[in-house]
Symmetry: C2
Subunit: 231 residues, 2 copies
């Protein structure tokens, strides 16, 4: 009799990156516990994509956890600030994009840690990548490494000698690399959702940062883009 | 013209410890942003206490954020596990109590960090203390220090050279010390709520860990206990 495969909590936003991250967790031999956060994001349609991804990858369980970060304000993704449509938008024309959600990945990884500990999982997956961490502080490799240290101190499991591993398998990938990786893993990229500011009919707007990066990723990878863009 | 006092986000559970922690933030010269988490705890009555405390201390704002951690399971405080009534309960008679909520303080501090960053606050307060950290890993001083490091890496504010300070003013206090500190600060301890498993009529049960510690704290401090206990 073989013991069942170990569990991993995978943060699944519904985007292409998290879809590939989840597929990597499965490839690494884990049973997937998919965790999505309904943080009252403008782009609620991405949660529908998260559900499709969890089903497609045969996730053991999928929790969509409501957590209304718009109560805090401070981001174009949750507050009434326009999502930029003319290139990566920052407050001052450089630095960190206005679509940055304060402490988002710290919050999301903490929640993954809580569920992971409760379920006896010791592995957490997050789909941050090289492109993200050029703009968002909580996507950088040093942040991920530091969170792993914190997780060991923070938990009963860590204290008892079963520390957590934070996997960021896309860490050094560009969007084109991720598009190629999706193809290698046999994933239908059309199932995922990237747009920050969906056009009517739940179509990718084609103009926000996220749509631009997605579209350019397929172009750079030289692979067909299954996405329908409004413009 | 003087500039307004700086803001601090204070985690206010509604318990005695968080009440004293919040009063210390005020004494330290901060305007208080009170944050309470409605995590579907058995003891919802503590949220009413949190509201009274925020009002009593003249908090600038108070957010009660719903976050249903019972979806994760794994704790007597959120799941269908009996709250121990015969002394500090642990799974194996030693170590970490069953009332431990996996990664709770990591999750709560992350949320405080997110709100703090959005509001331009650089100071976060949490009421952990010596008694807590003998049992809960995420109450230990080394955990608090590590979270402060993470906060610097995790945020736009940290990256831009405005790191966060995590205040744990009760860190080295016993419950008796905290009771005395409440008296020194002129606080009505009767406003706070400690019981994990309230008796009918929203009365402290008098038997759970938290009631025992509260009651003993007043006894050890030699101060009158305003709490009404069922037993």
């Amino acid at each position: 009799m073989t013991s069942p495969a170990p569990l991993a909590v995978v943060l699944v936003s519904g985007g292409l990156d998290s879809m590939v991250s989840a597929a990597r967790a499965r490839e690494d031999g884990f049973r997937v516990l998919a965790l999505s956060i309904d943080y009252n994001q403008r782009h609620q349609v991405e949660l529908a994509a998260a559900r499709r991804i969890a089903t497609m990858l045969g996730a053991e369980r999928h929790i969509v956890l409501p957590l209304d970060l718009s109560a805090f304000g401070g981001s174009a993704l949750t507050a009434d600030i326009d999502v930029p449509k003319d290139g990566i938008g920052t407050e001052d024309g450089g630095g960190i994009p206005v679509t940055y959600v304060p402490a988002r990945n710290t919050i999301f990884l903490s929640l993954a840690l809580g569920w992971g500990e409760a379920m006896g999982a010791r592995d957490l997956y997050i789909g941050v990548n090289a492109l993200d961490y050029s703009g968002y502080p909580d996507c950088r490799p040093e942040f991920i490494a530091e969170f792993e240290k914190l997780a060991e101190l923070a938990t009963k499991a860590g204290v008892e000698g079963h520390p957590f591993k934070i996997h960021a398998p896309l860490q050094d990938m560009t969007k084109a690399d991720i598009v190629r990786e999706a193809a290698r893993l046999g994933l239908d990229a059309g199932v995922s959702w990237s747009c920050y500011d969906p056009a009517p009919g739940s179509v990718h707007c084609g103009q926000c940062d996220s749509c631009r990066l997605r579209s350019k990723g397929f172009e750079d990878a030289g692979l067909p883009d299954p996405t329908v863009y409004a413009a």
